[in-house]
């Protein structure tokens, strides 16, 4: 057993026992995710306000988005979140081999999401959906440009979070290869699982705002 694996089982001096230490880590992660929720919340509020103000322009802009890529990416992210939730389950029972496999699958799916997002962005740029002087319909449709501002900031923020998540999931795979996890020693996997699923959750909110809302107009 490596030194890092021994460290996973250790109880730091400020905690009474392992449960207390694990509970504190989980609580701290949820507190962090709550602050993240409000961070994304400001973005959702902006979308709602401008969507009401420029309803038809937002509906028109929504129709310009890459629906197929967005939907495929949602399937990919949901599947990755499911895979890592399974990894958490196996980490608790000490099946590190499964943790390595599922973490690798999660990281691969995350990378696939990233690649498809780059493809989507390139299509958006080619279609002139970048706010500013070179927007496809200059001098009009101010509301459409606002939608694309939301789109670029929202997807950009999300992909930044996803990139951090891919690194964290890779770190878990690396640790699991060294048999780091087992009963009472799965907290790092649980913490990373919370982060990964949170990134998935934020995409589940962004997806209908970007690709579906207002298609009826």
């Amino acid at each position: 057993m490596s030194s890092s694996a021994r460290a996973d089982g250790a109880v730091e001096f400020q905690f009474h026992d392992r449960d207390y230490q694990s509970g504190t880590a989980l609580s701290g992660m949820w507190l962090f995710l709550s602050s993240e929720l409000l961070f994304f919340g400001g973005l959702f509020l902006c979308w709602a306000c401008y969507r009401i103000e420029y309803a038809s322009a937002f509906a028109a802009a929504t129709r310009e988005t890459e629906f197929a890529i967005g939907t495929l990416n949602t399937v990919i992210l949901l599947t990755s979140s499911f895979a890592f939730a399974c990894a958490v389950h196996f980490a608790r029972s000490g099946n590190n081999r499964r943790v390595v496999q599922l973490s690798a699958a999660t990281a691969l799916l995350g990378t696939l999401f990233f690649g498809l997002k780059l493809l989507e962005w390139s299509k958006d740029i080619a279609a002139g959906n970048v706010p500013g002087a070179h927007f496809r319909t200059p001098g009009q449709a101010g509301g459409e440009q606002l939608f694309w501002v939301f789109y670029w900031i929202g997807t950009g923020l999300h992909i930044a979070h996803l990139s951090v998540g891919i690194g964290l999931v890779g770190w878990i795979a690396w640790r699991a290869r060294r048999e780091a996890f087992g009963p009472g020693r799965a907290t790092p996997v649980e913490i990373v699982g919370l982060y990964w699923s949170f990134v998935d959750m934020m995409w589940l909110i962004l997806y209908p705002l970007i690709y579906l809302a207002g298609r009826s107009a």
Binding site: T24, L33, L38, F44, I52, G193, F198, A213
Partner: protein, 99 residues
């Protein structure tokens, strides 16, 4: 294996919800109705993948606290846009905003 079986069922449920949502938004043109599925799916992820019910009480307090302040942020922020109406100000056809 019951834990894994439950995760599989939730994953399938999420994919079905996504299919319903995409159909509502894309095929039927009910984009605004499809918006509702997003928070429902996010809640399923929170309950089953993130296990919000597991761990110490502080986990649920922090999760509820984040949700509460999100409601305050969006609820108060959206109050003006949803209640503001544009009314006619006179025969000249001028308009004015009324809060």
């Amino acid at each position: 294996m019951t834990g894994i079986r439950r995760l599989v069922l939730v994953w399938i449920g999420l994919l079905l919800l996504l299919a319903v949502q995409a159909t509502l938004g894309r095929v039927l043109g009910w984009g605004n109705v499809a918006l509702v599925a997003g928070p429902v799916m996010a809640a399923l992820v929170a309950v089953f993948f993130m296990e919000v019910g597991r761990g110490p009480g502080a986990v649920r307090v922090f999760a509820a606290w984040g949700l509460f302040w999100l409601m305050v942020l969006i609820g108060l922020g959206i109050l003006d846009p949803v209640t503001r109406r544009t009314v006619s100000a006179g025969p000249a056809g001028q308009t004015a905003s009324s809060p």
